[in-house]
Symmetry: C2
Amino acid sequence: MRAEEAAPAAGPPLASIDELVARLLERQPRAVGRAISLVEDGGEEQRRLVGAIYRRTGRARVVGVTGPPGAGKSTLVDRLARRLRERGETVGILAVDPTSPFSGGAILGDRIRMQSLYTDPGVFIRSMATRGAMGGLARSTRDAVDVLDAAGFDWVLVETVGVGQDEVDVVRSVDTVVLVTLPGLGDDIQAIKAGIMEIADVFVINKADREGAERTARDLEVALQLQEEEAGERWRPPIKQTVANVGQGVEEVLAEVERHRAWLEQSGELATRRRSQLRLRVEAILKDRVLAAADRRVGLEREIERAFAAREDPYRVAEAILAGVLRRGGEAGEGA
Amino acid sequence: MRAEEAAPAAGPPLASIDELVARLLERQPRAVGRAISLVEDGGEEQRRLVGAIYRRTGRARVVGVTGPPGAGKSTLVDRLARRLRERGETVGILAVDPTSPFSGGAILGDRIRMQSLYTDPGVFIRSMATRGAMGGLARSTRDAVDVLDAAGFDWVLVETVGVGQDEVDVVRSVDTVVLVTLPGLGDDIQAIKAGIMEIADVFVINKADREGAERTARDLEVALQLQEEEAGERWRPPIKQTVANVGQGVEEVLAEVERHRAWLEQSGELATRRRSQLRLRVEAILKDRVLAAADRRVGLEREIERAFAAREDPYRVAEAILAGVLRRGGEAGEGA
């Protein structure tokens, strides 16, 4: 059975969140899939689920693999997963699709994964896609990482194209960020991805058998040196070359990921990152809640229509809405 | 005198917001610069200022010019501004610098503007940079557009590299989006920028005297056709080729911008866009306010530290904070 296909409401109905959690903790693929669907849907059950499993999380090594379409992220992730399986470790993979319907095709195009991974019970693969609400993808991906972590997967690999705020938020919620790039992406391109470059812990130049790999490596070196002058003495991101589709260099990338993990623990940076991840999550939830509360109390769309017609300035409108929400504060906690 | 240099606290002190507004409405460069500094700083005065000028806004044509570093955005903006000045129209230019300190250099590198623009009282040029707070750049840029609009500039040109959520938010707050690209940016690159592509109203392939311009134009055509299938019958973004540094094609770009504006008005899309811009602004302010209120009431950082140590899940933490804010609702409006 393929783990991924088991996700939608297959099997007997689950009596309760408690039962789901119990099965999840046994790493039953069906329960894992069910739990991820639940966090994708959002709402009260999702919150109860995360509440129930949260204390079981924090053990997994959470690694983000990001980079442009066509860089070979999926292939690298598959190779890393296979290597980890050979060592007897279990792997959860979340493939985060971009919010953009337009670029969707480009990403889905490389979703041709190793068949062997799908049939391995030590591997769970799931695609995460947008389900409407803004910020929803980052939220549900973080929750899904919790699900896989609580289910006892040793590793959680999160693959994302790393464009847009949602995905940058996704990348910010992992412990180690691997940025996959290609030979020959010019200076313009490096500059474009600057936002992502700054949070990369390990650089991989994939398809390094192509012309220009050495040059790209040198360009990256220079870019990183500029960055370091600001960053001071911290982790120095290594640059590795791979040909992932034949497995070349994959072991070395894994070694760097583990070296980074060791550094995170020794330096105290792991706790710092996880605390800042908690803060990001809490802030995102707070923002969602206040908008939901505003919508429930005031009717956001109608209020905007009215304010637009009256030519009221945005600060006045926001303050009026917030005052309305706060006045009825007592009720505002429920059912957001 | 250069308008830009006049911005920081030069000249006699302004007695009040009212006085500033009065001078601003006369388009005194010093007052315009002062007002933009004020909205950059945020806080109570900035809110009063926006409140005072908001009803004077809505007249300017607000055009965003976005694209990767090196595409020639500044040159195109300068050429457009010069062309508009020849027609006797006034132009405000906001050059939005990316939040990333790392890519800063790349952008500032092309900030070599036509000297003639700086000495022209019908032109006001200002660089907008991040001032710390998240989301601050988008907020202050929108407010600065209001300032220039209220000051009576016929056009406001907003130039931004279009990377990251802040800048996408900036781009979402203009009426017409011009995306500037270069010949030879490959398929990978087009896919990367998909988020921006979807909101572009006019495409410009600059440096079209370079090899590959026709091919890039064809690639864009294909990409746009894919997009149109989803978008249905709406505005069909034109693709123009320019060599901006010698002025070639600039007139045609301007014509397309004006054609788009006419379409916006005829189709009713202008009102739709501006209403959705108001909503985006209101939502952003609401989010900022609730975080500020939470910080004031609960002490966000301390609460996160406590929750992290107690291993509380983010939903529980967010709800406890929100409940705390709402309980003291009456006071929460002040001094955010």
